[in-house]
């Protein structure tokens, strides 16, 4: 029995709330891959003594991705659709000693909460925002999101999306964030590396993680099989050391997702500017 118990132990069990598991994510969903990579980075930072668990909080809005805040064994809050960043801003303002991590989906962070994302980046407030981008409103069943690539089918665009997707990487970079990177669930070590690095940055850090949703995104574009969708994404992914910001726009048909660190600088952060912490 002991051997079985040992076998069932997961290396990240200590950072998760096993009583909340199994999670709600569908089989083949990319979110578990991403959360695993994020937690490996967090674990390393804790082991190095850089992060304290009791001084780390995970904040989520609404959506599949935002549920991550429920599964991690940290202080966490599940807030309102789009408002995870304002919640985190308030938290950070009162507890500048805490490391505040926002995990949300594309609809949550860039759609309904897009305005908050812009202004948090403009303010360069000391937060880490991780946006899992599955390019669709997944939890409500696969409707068009502001990140859906042009031409793709969703439940609300049965004849193809006529709109262009928002380029969140470029938006956040333009607003002046200190750190902007894009990773994908096809390359978990990249997610881990960027999160590890972002956790050490002052100011606003933003990581977009391109994720796969076979259940409602893949289904409508003829790739319901999780492996097919992951392979289709892998074919479109290009990793660059320091990609130019103009390479950040993505398309699905004939397009590419350029992964890499787009912005890495050390401008004064919001907390420095208001004198809460020393620069």
């Amino acid at each position: 029995m002991e051997a079985v118990r040992r076998l069932r132990k997961h290396p990240l069990d200590g950072l998760l709330r096993p009583e909340r598991l199994p999670h709600l994510w569908c089989p083949g969903c990319g979110l578990g891959i991403a959360l695993g990579a994020i937690l490996r980075a967090v674990k390393r930072r804790i082991e190095e003594g850089y992060l304290q668990r009791e001084k780390t909080a995970f904040i989520g809005g609404i959506g599949c991705s935002a549920r991550a805040s429920l599964y991690v064994d940290f202080d966490s809050a599940h807030t309102v659709h789009g408002r995870a960043i304002p919640f985190a801003t308030g938290l950070k303002a009162v507890r500048p000693d805490m490391k505040v991590i926002v995990i949300g989906g594309d609809g949550d962070i860039a759609g309904i909460g897009g305005n908050h994302l812009m202004h948090a980046a403009r303010r360069n407030i000391d937060l880490l925002v991780i946006m899992m981008n599955n390019m669709v409103y997944a939890m409500t069943g696969g409707q068009l999101a502001p990140t859906t690539p042009t031409g793709l089918y969703t439940t609300t665009t049965p004849y193809g999306n006529p709109e262009r997707p928002i380029n969140v990487v470029k938006l956040v970079a333009t607003m002046g964030a200190n750190y902007v990177a894009r990773a994908a669930v096809t390359h978990p070590p990249l997610i881990e590396r960027y999160v590890y690095k972002a956790l050490g940055k002052k100011g606003f850090a933003f990581i977009e993680v391109i994720s796969t949703c076979p259940e409602v995104f893949g289904r409508h574009i003829g790739m319901r099989d999780a492996v097919d969708l992951l392979n289709a994404l892998r074919e479109r992914v290009v990793v660059k050391q320091r990609p130019h910001i103009d390479e950040s726009y993505y398309e699905w048909e004939g397009g590419k997702f350029v992964l890499g660190e787009y912005v890495d600088k050390d401008d004064p952060s919001y907390l420095e500017r208001i004198g809460v912490i020393k620069g």
């Binding site: 599940h78 759609g111 409103y137 409500t140 409707q143 068009l144 502001p146 609300t156 665009t157």
Partner: protein, 398 residues
């Protein structure tokens, strides 16, 4: 109209079919459970060419209603739909829509409000909208949900009314439950609600400004007019339902009475829980010789106080079921508050008691209804002074 073809439709799909029949020009859509399939179905109609409308995939509910306001101000027939947190986010614009007197129709699949997050059904979102100046109806069957959309445009666009209308159904219990529905065809719908711009619209040849500053010298008059329009809405509701019956053969009243002819006691309810009460009356109460009836409030704003009081004044005792709470109020549930005010102003002395039940999707069972009936019957021979000052919280863990 008898013998027409019926389709098996969920509450949400039934609403989408009616919106198609109303030939709307603009649909603004943002997904939220349990409303989402209404606009999903509509985008399918539009994509198939069955409905010639613009679909705006907005980035939040606040934008959904804002886009609806803009489109309506330009003279379009407009539709949107939402639930719960979406309604809460629309709150600011709901007042704008009603004060600008724009005949927008919005379907609501009712759902509890956060926190904690709850996607199941109660009436918290509906009741939170109750003082925003919208005409409000709540259906009880999917056919009624379908018909309400057509009625809503009839009332909203009437030149004496010009108010936005909410047509609500209960999330999941109706939104995702399939019933036979006889859909109204576009041709007959448009005879009933011809497309004619009856409201003030933006016109480049004759420019106007909508919604500018209303100084203390003028603001109050706008509000008074909204109050009058709401009263007119009641008259128009009665005319519209009569005409609707003539054309489509189905009769709707602001209040539905079930086994009230010989009733001595009644429960007052809204939405799907009325079905549970009906079943209880037939299967339990009447078999035990309890002369219990049901008063189902369909039209919530303007509130049909007169007819409810006329019936209640002859009863021994009445229980009001609320599926929402008015925290800190002197009454308990919002529906109860309206009933009590109506009773006071009409001099009705019948003891009326409040039950709060089914919050956040908790089922309202026969056992719960029995508890309500028992508490109502216990008021027989009592006066209103004997009515508990606190609502009964039915089916909650204390």
């Amino acid at each position: 109209m008898a013998g027409k073809k019926k389709l098996p439709l969920s509450g949400n799909t039934a609403i989408a079919y009616a919106v198609k029949a109303a030939d709307v020009d603009v649909i603004s859509a943002y997904p939220i459970t349990p409303q989402t399939t209404i606009v999903e179905k509509l985008t399918e109609f539009v994509a198939n060419g069955e409905l010639d409308a613009e679909v705006i995939h907005v980035e939040s509910e606040h934008s959904a209603l804002s886009a609806a306001v803009g489109a309506s101000a330009a003279g379009a027939r407009v539709f949107t739909a939402s639930s719960s947190q979406g309604i809460a986010l629309m709150y600011e614009i709901m007042f704008i829509a009603s004060s600008m007197r724009l005949p927008i129709v919005m379907a609501m699949a009712t759902r509890a409000l956060s926190a904690p997050i709850n996607i199941w059904n109660d009436h918290s979102d509906f009741m939170a909208a109750s003082d925003t100046g919208w005409v409000m109806m709540m259906a009880h069957t999917n056919q009624e949900a379908h018909d309400d959309i057509i009625l809503a445009y009839k009332i909203a666009e009437h030149p004496d009314v010009l108010l936005p209308v909410i047509t609500a159904i209960d999330g999941y219990f109706m939104s995702h439950t399939i019933e036979p529905v006889e859909p109204i065809e576009r041709e007959e719908a448009l005879k009933f609600i011809p497309k004619k711009v009856t409201w003030s619209v933006l016109d480049p040849d004759n420019p106007v400004t909508m919604g500018p500053l209303g100084t203390p010298e003028w603001y109050y008059e706008f509000k008074r007019q909204q109050h009058e329009a709401m009263k007119k809405a009641r008259e128009v509701f009665d005319e519209a339902t009569k005409e609707f019956e003539k054309v489509f053969g189905r009769r709707y009243e602001p209040v539905e009475y079930f086994m009230m002819d010989d009733a001595e006691y009644a429960l007052v309810a809204m939405g799907s829980v009325a079905g549970n009460v009906k079943a209880y009356i037939v299967k339990e109460a009447r078999k035990r010789g309890i002369k219990l009836g049901l008063i189902r409030v369909k039209l919530f704003r303007p509130f049909p106080a007169e007819e409810i009081m006329e019936v209640i004044s002859n009863l021994k005792a009445v229980g009001v079921i609320d599926r929402a709470l008015a925290f800190g109020s002197s009454y308990g549930g919002p529906l109860y508050g309206d009933i009590l005010s109506a009773a006071y102003t009409r001099g009705v002395d019948t003891p009326i008691v409040n039950f709060v039940a089914g919050l956040g999707g908790r089922p309202v069972t026969f056992r719960d209804i029995k508890a309500m009936v028992d508490a109502t019957l216990a008021l027989d021979g009592k006066t209103r002074k004997d009515v508990p000052k606190e609502p009964y919280f039915i089916g909650v863990r204390e």
